[in-house]
Amino acid sequence: MGSTMNLLIGLAMGLNLLALGSGRLSAIIRATAVQGVVLGVMPLLLEYTFDWMVALVALVTVAVKGFVIPSLLRRAMRAAKIQREEEPLIGFVPSLLLGAGGTIAAIAGARMLPLLPEHAGTLLVPGSMASILTGLILLIGRVKAISQVCGYLILENGIYLFGLLLIHSTPLLVESGILLDLTVGVFVIGIIVDRIQRAFDSLDTRKLTVLRE
């Protein structure tokens, strides 16, 4: 049980680095979607007994994170007619190194935190910290709106992963995290609507600089 979960979290960590290193938007979207599915099935592994509620949450998470939002993002990508992240603020190599350093620091740092014995052996906390860091790097370091949204999704995946620690004690709080997906939905709809409304050169957030102090 635990080793399967650790393997999945390790996979999610690898996907973080993949998202950091790839310049193609479609690759980032795919990495994010796969990560969403991987994390979505996680509650089922945590449960020793089958629970309808948890199964439903897992199903909804997989559907939303793995399919609905990625397909919306792909649509936005088509609408905006962009394929690649050309000149990120933080280059691919530095962000990859930052992400890897962060992953290592997360694994090392999580040992210092006081964890309940049943969570001590798992990669839940380091995996979550690594994903949050990756999300923040993408949010800060990329200029294309779609990569930023992917960064937000990865950040959100990290928070969800942390929430799994609490899924037994306060399932409601953890499930409310699905509201964050709503924010992502608003982001993506914003991109699409804006694209339809006006001709916007390349959806480069660096062009959103009229308002500057």
């Binding site: 935190l113 006081p114 964890l115 309940l116 949050i132 923040l136 949010l139 709106a145 930023q148 937000y152 950040l155 959100e156 990290g158 928070i159 942390f162 929430g163 620690l165 609490l166 037994h168 004690s169 306060t170 409601l172 709080l173 953890v174 409310s176 995290g177 509201l179 964050l180 709503l182 924010t183 608003v186 982001f187 914003g190 804006d194 006006r198 916007f200 957030t205 959103l208 009229v210 308002l211 102090e213």
Partner: protein, 480 residues
Amino acid sequence: MRENLLIAIPLVGAALAFFWRGDRTRPLLLPAAGILHTGLALWLLVNPPLVSPGAWFGFDPIARAVLPAVSILFLACAVYSVSYLRIRTERSNRVFVASLLAILGLLSAGHQARHLGMLWITTEAVTLAAVPLLHFNGTSRAFEATWKYLLIGGTGIALSLLGSFCLGYASLRGGGTGDLTFVGLIAQGAGLSRPWVLIAWVLLLVGYGTKMGLAPMHTWKPDAYGEAPGIVGAMLAGGVTTVAFTAILRVRAVVSAAGEGAIADRTLLAIGLFSMVVAALFLLGTRDFKRMLAYSSVEHMGILVIGAALGRAGIWAAFFHVWSNCMTKGALFLSAANIRRAAGARTIDEVSGMSAVTPRSAAIFVTGLFAVTACPPFGPFFSELRVVRAAIETGRAGVAAIFLGCLLFAFFGLTRVVFAVVDGRPRTKESKAAGKVNERAGVVLPPLILLGAALWLGLATPHVLTDAWTEAVGRLVTQP
């Protein structure tokens, strides 16, 4: 049961507004809901209901100390918006009215939330509900401002969820049973796992601080306030920020119960002073009078958290300042919106001599300026004075000195912009418009009434309010 109506009335109103046919009559729902809400809130202020300790929502002393201010501010905005939306007939106001009502309902819920998760859900919902309001003007600059708001605010809100998880884990690690009401967490007190409490405190401070607009998480604020209609600015600066502030207060109480109150106070002081310094510096540089209001808001958020860090007297002063800030910011935003509409521009390079074009709004704007820069006898003067006194009494003279210095610079910055706008000779574009500008009672009275309320707060603070604040302080600070 009545306190739930505070949440239900606006939400029902929002649903009604969404399905209401007829753009002309729909805005009337706003004052209707506003009157009901304000009446109920004031009634509850005078007759506080009993709150069962385990309830997830309730009109507890903290809600009682803050929520009526938001309610009054909303009522003024609602009256104003009837006239405003009559001018803006070129756009459908369906989403605007519905979102504004939804925000009121969610703000009421957020103020009354006594559960960590519920607090987060309402704050998240408020964040999302404000999006259509910010984008109401539909320009590319409005889109840009909305995008920044959502990106920065969304990240902040995500971090505050993480902070909530950490606090939940602190409780679980300390042997908690998953009871995440603030009462339950405070009762667990020293049983909470301290490292997790500290992590949670940092994340929640960053998260809710982003919603409040504390520096350095304030960068969305000037853009959002600059591009959104004045009503939205007033509701964001007076309503949404106070929800985030009460959230920080409630969390601080938990952190303090866990025995880390000193660290929490120190971080609050640092971030508050930093906000004030940043705001004062930007106020000296800005040339746009709507962005000026945003920086002024950053400054006042700094004052609030400094107050929150200064013990009983400081928290009391912070509650006082929430009220005076609500009233003066409302007056300023609404009168600034009038001036902005008449002038057709927002920077002091393009606008001048507005006292000749819109004399009433300009008068309110100038008076509001004196109120917000803490000139006696307006409310902000007395609340800020109490913050300074609390600082000196707790032996933090340095804090008081920086605080006063920032106020001075903010005063310079604000007067510079305001008098450039009001004074002088109208530019040609405005003088042509001068004959046509009709300052209806609907757009002048609401800011005037808010200003009057600010004056009243300063001259004769009602006893019911001081009692409410004292009781709320008693809830938040366990040991004297």
